[in-house]
């Protein structure tokens, strides 16, 4: 469980061997290799974009790498509002709304619960707190398939199976190991003097947390936010198992649209739908820069 954010050098300058002259044999090899690699990584995004902007006739005759001769936004419109899943034909818009409805409470609940837990076990250690924390961390490695059925039964007994609340609880539970680790490590690194001073001033457990720690921990909260938004948005397994078809998140609807057996395959609509579903994490990723790297590095335990 390497928390990479603890290597301060990780995001600083390189320490490898010295660079060579600009056109040395080594440099040419280096840049050719990099070009091939970048091609492999960038290609799918390029293909998604160009395919989604072509009409079907152009796709049938042209090649998938070529930019569109005639740009059309029809596939995007169809993907969003009229594409069929085999049951209904209302596109991804319903799934998008469901995903938002799942995302907001799940993100807030999981971060709230995990930050308080991380605070309790870092600054208010009690007998057994380390044991529970260790169980939690090892729990992160247990395949979800092992725990999923008993959870279905529990939610059914509580009358929450198939509801959004049920799914929010599931996301809160499975977000806990990584987030608690993240917050625990961060709060542990804060000086104890700060905490003692607040105690002397008469602040209690919640007072210290809300008035002292939270305001000075905004960076770690944003890391957690990025981690949870991408994680919950990209979830497929919990969405398909713990919700009813009318609550299916976007990923599940996307899969149902693209892999629907009926009808003619419209590859441009499929790619527009795929791109639409990937858009939220992509925007978060490009906008957040190094925070995303810190998030996934700390979230490494998630595996």
């Amino acid at each position: 469980m390497v928390d990479i954010s603890s290597y301060p050098q990780a995001l600083d300058g390189p320490v490898g061997p010295k660079p060579r002259r600009a056109f040395s044999a080594g440099n040419i090899v280096l840049w050719t290799t990099l070009a091939v690699i970048l091609f492999y990584y960038a290609l799918p995004l390029w293909i998604m974009v160009v395919t989604s902007l072509k009409g079907m006739p152009e796709i049938r005759i042209g090649n998938i790498f070529a930019p569109p001769l005639e740009v059309t936004f029809e596939p995007w419109h169809k993907a969003a509002f009229t594409a069929c899943t085999g049951l209904t034909c209302e596109g991804l818009s319903a799934g998008f709304l469901n995903s938002v409805k799942i995302l907001i409470p799940s993100t807030i609940a999981s971060i709230a619960v995990a930050s308080v837990s991380g605070y309790a076990i870092s600054k208010w250690k009690f007998r057994g707190s380390e044991v529970f924390f260790t169980i939690l961390i090892f729990g992160a490695f247990i395949p979800y398939q092992v725990m999923i059925y008993p959870l279905v039964i529990m939610l059914r007994e509580l009358g929450l199976f198939g509801s959004l609340t049920g799914l929010v609880i599931i996301h809160t539970i499975f977000g806990m190991p990584v987030l608690t680790l993240l917050f625990r490590n961060y709060f542990t690194s804060l000086p104890d003097e700060l905490f003692k001073a607040a105690r002397v001033d008469g602040a209690g457990f919640w007072g210290i947390f809300l008035r002292v720690l939270v305001p000075m921990s905004l960076p770690i909260f944003s890391v957690a936010l990025i981690l949870q938004i991408t994680g919950i948005w990209n979830d497929f397994l919990f969405g398909v198992i713990f919700t009813k078809p009318e609550n299916y998140p976007m990923t599940v609807q996307l899969n149902n649209i693209v892999n629907a057996v009926q009808g003619v395959k419209e590859y441009n609509v499929n790619m527009a739908a795929t791109l639409l579903t990937g858009l939220v994490p992509l925007i978060i990723y490009f906008a957040s820069g190094k925070l995303f790297v810190r998030g996934i590095a700390a979230g490494a335990v998630k595996g």
């Binding site: 490898g16 960038a42 490695f141 990937g278």
Partner: protein, 303 residues
């Protein structure tokens, strides 16, 4: 750190009520650790020894479910696929991840841009990844057709519809999605290595590749072990990717254990088989995790 109110009320406060707010705040964490990670796991393992079918039952049948499981062709195919996929994924991710990290560590220009391009697939969901690569590998429009239209008429590259190699089609997508993350882990490891090592090896005239192979890689052992554990625990969980890219097909050629479990529990209503298969998943995680935990934390007391 005892609770002031409690200590005023009684001369010798009940230790259970010391630090009470922290304990209450940690209740969700304790509940998740005990009820979900331990309770649900034990429940599933126990029920894998019963003859549960449509509903969980407690009639003990010993190892019957496991005997049936290991006599099922689909399970055997799943395990074989996972082994092939797993070995290739481990080797490729570690090699590509390390080489990329070493390339990025050469004081090259545009390092941030290159890292951004290599890492963006990691922000994408497995569903999106699977669908994009399903399209790129499409025999009528994708890579195969492009190469053929360039003049090489007999070119064959159709992994997704070939029973023998379909799992490698999934592999290409998985490597695309996950190797950037391993690169970040490796880069953090490389940046953690003392720059003096490089100076010393230059003074001695040792070529860079030799320094990497004989000095740097052995020094990075912990980073490699962490990366290995992360990749391995991810491999066992592979579900959404297969579900979206091939749905286990053609036939059952690309089935994986995680998908076997979900299908048995929620589609085939054969709970006993699902429990037995998920217990096997748990066993394989334990086989990876226990030696690692022993190596990492066994020696140190501060785990």
């Amino acid at each position: 750190m005892d609770d002031r109110a409690a200590s005023k009320a009684a001369a010798r406060p009940n230790p259970l009520f010391r630090n009470l707010s922290a304990k209450i705040a940690a209740l969700p964490m304790i509940a998740v650790a005990l009820v979900v990670f331990i309770g649900c796991t034990v429940w599933t393992v126990y029920h894998s020894f019963t003859k549960s079918r449509m509903l969980p039952k407690s009639d003990w049948v010993g190892l019957d479910q496991y005997e049936r499981l290991w006599a099922t062709r689909r399970w055997l195919v799943s395990v074989e696929n996972l082994a092939l996929f797993g070995v290739c994924m481990l080797v490729l991710s570690l090699t590509i991840g390390f080489i990329l990290a070493a390339l990025l560590d050469q004081k090259i220009r545009f390092e941030n841009t290159i890292r951004t391009i290599i890492l963006y697939p990691f922000a994408m969901s497995f569903v999106v990844t699977g669908l994009v690569w399903q399209w790129i590998l499409n025999p009528d429009f994708g890579v195969q057709e492009i190469v053929r239209s360039m003049g090489w008429e007999s070119f064959e590259f159709n992994p997704l519809y070939d029973v023998n190699v379909v799992i490698y089609g999934v592999l290409i997508a998985a490597v695309w999605q996950g190797s950037g993350f391993i690169m970040v882990v490796m880069l953090a490891g490389l940046r953690g290595i003392d720059g003096e090592i490089w100076k010393a090896s230059r003074v001695d005239g040792i070529p860079a590749w030799k320094t990497y192979v004989f000095i740097i890689i052995p020094m990075m052992r912990p980073v490699f072990v962490t990366a290995l554990v992360l990749i391995a625990s991810g491999i066992i969980k592979v579900y959404d990717l297969v579900k979206a890219q091939t749905n286990g097909g053609p036939g059952i050629a690309s089935e994986v254990p995680a998908k076997y479990v979900i299908d048995m529990m929620f589609n085939n209503l054969n709970l006993g088989q699902g429990f037995a298969a998920s217990t096997m998943m748990l066993v394989s995680v334990a086989v990876i995790l226990i030696p690692w935990a022993y190596l990492e934390y066994g020696k140190k007391s501060d785990g």
